[in-house]
């Protein structure tokens, strides 16, 4: 099986403090992953490393077998094959259509091709009716759906999601989950998502990674990690008995 990412000895240090330490792990291409773990476990840092936003202090990250380059001219070409949705999405001033089209525009897509792609993406997140509304006037759930549409409109090989449904109501959660599923069905892309919602991890992921203190504690299928965890700490976390 082809690996989208392979990490070996990856460490991130900030002010002499180790915030990420991954001995070895792989992310298979085309699979859906959920990363779970307590706050401060290093989940977001891992996503930032995968999205080229954070260069590891040490270690090696392979992207489809090639070493990931965090600077230089090739970095941009790699960056454009992936998309990330942040926990707090930044809306650029302009309407919803502009925000969703932005990635395509930055990638240099012709204006005539952008319209159809944006309309399609807005339909997936059920926001077609807000296309002409200012993105700065959206609710939290709508803004998160715009951010998802903006991420998936470029049809990325990799979709990285940092708690995309945190603090959202059930309807927005359902729409976002449906959009993620439909994206995966259509494009077979690799999806790596951080979530604190274990039910969501069960619904969306094929593999689950439990992290704590910057390291991967346990990784396996949904059944292995969420239903029959081997590690004592994972057991405590998934049962809700861990106090942190």
């Amino acid at each position: 099986m082809e690996h989208a990412y392979s990490l070996k000895g990856v460490m991130v240090e900030k002010k002499d403090r180790e915030i990420l330490s991954i001995a070895e792990t792989n992310f298979a291409a085309g699979k859906r992953y959920a990363i779970i773990g307590p706050s401060g476990a290093g989940k977001t840092t891992l996503l930032r490393v995968l999205n080229l936003l954070q260069e590891p202090t040490r270690g090696q990250v392979l992207y489809y077998g090639q070493e990931l380059i965090y600077s230089g001219s090739n970095r941009l070409a790699i960056q454009r094959t992936m998309s990330m949705v942040f926990q707090k999405p930044a809306m650029f001033s302009g309407d919803v259509f502009y925000n969703v089209a932005l990635g395509l525009k930055l990638h240099g897509m012709a204006k005539k091709d952008i319209k159809g792609r944006v309309e399609e993406a807005l339909e997936v997140v059920r926001l077609s009716h807000l296309a002409k509304q200012s993105a700065l006037t959206l609710s939290g759930g709508e803004a998160q759906r715009v951010a998802l549409a903006r991420a998936l409109v470029t049809r990325p090989k990799i979709l990285l999601l940092d708690e995309p449904t945190a603090n959202l109501d059930p309807l927005n959660v359902a729409i976002i989950e449906e959009a993620i599923k439909s994206l995966h069905t259509d494009n077979k892309n690799t999806i790596i998502m951080i979530t604190h919602n274990l039910h969501q991890a069960k619904r969306l992921a094929e593999e689950v990674i439990y992290m704590n203190n910057g390291a991967i504690v346990e990784q396996g299928t949904v059944a292995e990690v969420l239903l029959n965890p081997k590690n004592k700490e994972t057991q405590l976390f998934v049962s809700g008995e861990m106090v942190y």
Binding site: L53, S93, G94
Partner: protein
């Protein structure tokens, strides 16, 4: 008191009747201030954007320098330009002293640090919010700079308005390098000084009110006309 109101009314009547002399002074004031702000925008916004986005060795020193220059006394700017343009100065052969060009140069010295400094602050406040989103969307360096600067447009507009306010109200530097020559380098502020020195306080006050009205109209245009247009955002 009655005399003062009469003078103010006289000036307003002159203003409304299209008095050629008064309008020449107003137009020169606007020409000098607009030109200085335009040049200040072209120099100050790129400097401010760069300073707001990029940390480099000596960045702090540059920030302190810009903040210091923001408070530069106009007379000092005037003296510096005077020395540069005087017959024995390094730019003496340009023969710009006591011309509107010299007045524009002096005002550029005053407004550019204001535009650069306030742009820097505005851009820096947007970097944290938009930088990673822009990178993640696949923007190259130029696109990142453009996106963040665009998001800082409210702050940049405030910088331009502040700079224009400083330019149109400035007197020390333009008096020094312009010389307040009638029909050539006389502007609103130097006229006010002249009338005050002549003892025509009421006329000076009236001119001051006209200056304020013009400033109000221009700022109104910038805030109510230009800013909403910018806030609409770019259409794809």
């Amino acid at each position: 008191m009655e005399g003062m109101w009469n003078s103010i009314l006289d000036v307003l009547k002159l203003f409304l009747s299209g008095d050629q002399k008064l309008y020449e002074i107003i137009f020169l004031s606007l020409k000098v201030s607009f030109s200085a702000v335009l040049i200040g925008v072209l120099i100050g916004i790129p400097i401010g954007s760069f300073m707001g986005m990029v940390d480099f060795k000596g960045h702090k020193l540059m920030v302190i320098l810009i903040y210091t220059l923001m408070g530069m006394p106009p007379v000092l700017a005037g003296v510096a330009i005077y020395l540069l343009l005087s017959a024995n100065g390094p730019l003496g052969q340009w023969q710009l002293l006591f011309t509107p060009g010299a007045m524009i140069m002096a005002q550029v010295v005053l407004v550019t640090p204001i535009i650069a400094g306030l742009t820097m602050v505005a851009v820096r406040s947007r970097v944290k919010i938009f930088f990673e989103s822009a990178v993640s969307l696949g923007a190259n360096k130029v696109q990142i700079a453009w996106l963040i600067t665009r998001e800082a447009k409210n702050g940049i507009m405030a910088a331009v308005v502040t700079a224009f306010g400083r330019a149109i109200a400035e007197v020390g530097a333009v008096m020094l390098v312009g010389g307040n020559i009638e029909n050539y380098t006389r502007v609103m502020t130097t006229s006010i000084i002249l009338e005050t020195r002549k003892g025509n306080f009421d006329l000076a006050l009236g001119l001051g009110i006209v200056l304020l009205v013009i400033s109000f109209l221009i700022n109104g245009f910038l805030v109510a006309g230009v800013l909403p247009y910018l806030q609409r955002g770019e259409q794809v």
